[in-house]
Symmetry: D2
Subunit: 97 residues, 4 copies
Amino acid sequence: MEHAQHGYIGNKDDYLKRLRRIEGQARGLQRMVEEESYCIDILTQVSAMTKALQAVSLGLLSEHMNHCVVNAAQESDAAGQEKVDEAMQAIARLVRS
Amino acid sequence: MEHAQHGYIGNKDDYLKRLRRIEGQARGLQRMVEEESYCIDILTQVSAMTKALQAVSLGLLSEHMNHCVVNAAQESDAAGQEKVDEAMQAIARLVRS
Amino acid sequence: MEHAQHGYIGNKDDYLKRLRRIEGQARGLQRMVEEESYCIDILTQVSAMTKALQAVSLGLLSEHMNHCVVNAAQESDAAGQEKVDEAMQAIARLVRS
Amino acid sequence: MEHAQHGYIGNKDDYLKRLRRIEGQARGLQRMVEEESYCIDILTQVSAMTKALQAVSLGLLSEHMNHCVVNAAQESDAAGQEKVDEAMQAIARLVRS
């Protein structure tokens, strides 16, 4: 079963809950802009939302490495390194964003 | 008129459009988790969403500095420095998030 | 006097001390690589050094805004906005690095 | 041989060269502060130095994952997951710094 290797499945509901909260933050920001809230207050909310997204990223990455990367490494060196290279590209994007 | 100092008003519709797109990205991420998409593909979308949020932050900060900070500085040194200190706290949060 | 506008002069010795410590961290990292220290320990030192550099940036930026930007705004709207635009480019580089 | 697992050994000279250049950048920054260079020019140099450090981090992390993490995973699930957890802590520090 292909899905068996997707490590976040156990926590799927937790991720969905966090993403719904992030969606709510995006709607809250629209309300703040609509009501012409003070810029600094809007920036504070954007920072909170960015941090929440970053936590989701780190969580997903951790599960990906604990499952996909570890499994691929156990299959063969080449398979492990391919998954590591792919993960490193995602990590570089995270570090730079 | 209090609102006159909120520099993003001219671009309000543009900010609302960008935030609605970000809200849509948050919903897209929920769909991806729901359908158990590949982790790395989800991480790519999270990075795109973080970049979009960062661009909103930098835009709002720029307008805040061009209006509130410049106006406060023209009022008095003390008023200017108070606004600069407040902006620096927001910048530090942006840099660290 | 041209230098009068460079706001970090009062703290020059403090900045020099911090930058000498950062230079020392760069030499410490070379020693660690030379001695083939454990990767994760090297990464921990790199993170500490990055944080120290970030603190230097935020300090310099704060003094720049409190002096150059505030002074320029008091000169004219156009001068203030020019300095704000220049500062925003530096801030965008900081946020993205 | 314990050192055999430290993946950056092949590139040791390359890392030393990059770290010496970073040390030189730290000295260049001291010169700029000493000569009271323009703040924004100093900030540009700090951003360049931060980017160089970030590239060193990502390089070391990549080699660590390709060697230590892959080897540990091939030893056992538990060993692999221990190395992944350790790497994730370093990644979280990188993302937040």
